[in-house]
Amino acid sequence: MVQSSVLPNSDSSNPGTIDPALILRDETLPGSAYWHGIIKRGNTLRITDLEGSQGVSLICYNADNPIERLNVADTAKIQFNAFLKKGMVIYSDMGRVLFSITEDTSGYHDLFGGCSNAASNAAKYGEGEFWVNARDSFRRAVTRYGLTKRDIMPNINLFTRVAIELEGKMTFVEGIEKPGSFIDLRAEMNVLVVLSNCPHALHPSTPYAPKPIQVPVWNSPAPTADDLCRNANPEAVRGFVNTDALFAQD
């Protein structure tokens, strides 16, 4: 067992080549677009930062029973770390694993910075203009699945770093984006995921200039007995006991 604090550092040299025969779907989203889809258990959603993203906001649900959903507080406290990286998992509010982070060449993903909304965009980019924001994109996306504002929970931000100082001050760290970096999210149940490709709420730069991302879904190899995410710590082992039980009766 390894504690999450000693998980390997992200390998920024990984070229991330996927055998084209394994790719199930593949799309490129322009800046400000949103995306939603269901990733079947065992398949992997890759999110690639093509040009140096200003942040990608993510929420997710158990696709078979969306009352079960992402819980960022549990994700942080169960793993004793709020900065997501390779080897960590994304927990639902039911003590189960939605996604495993099986690869990550960025190294910086944030659970604290929330997502942009109409007011925060107006404050940053000016009144009287229409700027697409993540909160409204989430609402529009989840409507397709019969979900509403009540179902939207705190989100994850990919490809961004928010530093926390001793007394709690939050600072957006600029310049960590790397064109070509990616994160692989292996679905551990059937996962409904929504992405909003809008700038992070704390991203300081104006004008509004979100960059495109690519979102291939691929038929990734089944986890082996020594799978990093499944064995990262005793909590992960228990989380997967809970998760596998969902599918044990199929």
Partner: protein, 211 residues
């Protein structure tokens, strides 16, 4: 860390009750009313959620709150911000100095992962929230990341996060003014597996004054 004292007199409160250890509590506060949570025994985590009483799909947002104030911890002067970006409550006084926004609530399910599969059957904060919110027609869809008053969850510069011994003493208080009509739900946390309650849940006292 900032602390402040209060001038409010308990003799003039319109509500003054003790919530036993491990129990839920909920009530609607009118705009302008002030509520106090007193940590009677010290080191007692008080899990706290707030909704717009007139339209409860507007609710406390941990991320909007911390982003708006640029700080992960709450203290005197902090404003609790909703998912619509509006101020729901303001912390008027705080004699503890730091309250947690990131640790969320314990649940039967998270206890099973954190502490052992057999811990699933222990009472937990989500149970209390569901009990407290049910009379208002709210349920699991309405659960979001909550505040943990009197709880110390330091986050380091490399992201590590620990639940450590509290910094709250017996008699520590926090006073909150309702800035809209609010439904407040509390779980007086039953957690006994980590130091957030010093392994021993204790009662809290709640007082309410007219604004």
């Amino acid at each position: 860390m900032t602390t402040s004292q209060t001038q409010l007199d308990p003799q003039t409160a319109i509500y003054d009750e003790v919530v036993p250890s491990r129990h839920p509590w909920s009530r609607v506060l009118k705009r302008g009313q002030i509520m106090r949570i007193e940590d009677l025994g010290g080191n007692q985590a008080v899990d706290f959620l707030v909704y717009n009483a007139d339209a409860p799909d507007e609710r406390y947002s941990a991320q909007d709150t911390t982003v708006a104030q640029g700080n992960l911890y709450l203290t005197t002067g902090s404003k609790l911000i909703s998912n619509d970006g509006r101020v729901m409550m303001t912390i008027l006084n705080d004699t503890c100095g730091r309250h947690d926004t990131s640790g969320g609530a314990c649940s039967c399910e998270s206890n099973s992962v954190r502490f052992g599969l057999d811990k699933r059957f222990q009472h937990a904060c989500v149970e209390n929230f569901l009990t407290a919110l049910a009379p208002y027609g709210l349920g699991k869809r309405d659960m979001v990341s909550n505040i943990n008053f009197f709880m110390n969850v330091p986050v380091s510069d490399n992201g590590t996060l620990e639940i450590v011994d509290g910094i709250s003493a017996p008699g520590s208080i926090v006073d909150l003014r309702a800035e809209m009509n609010t439904l407040v739900a509390i779980s007086n946390c039953p957690q006994i597996n980590n130091p957030c309650n010093a392994y021993n849940p204790t009662p809290i006292r709640i007082l309410i004054w007219e604004g």
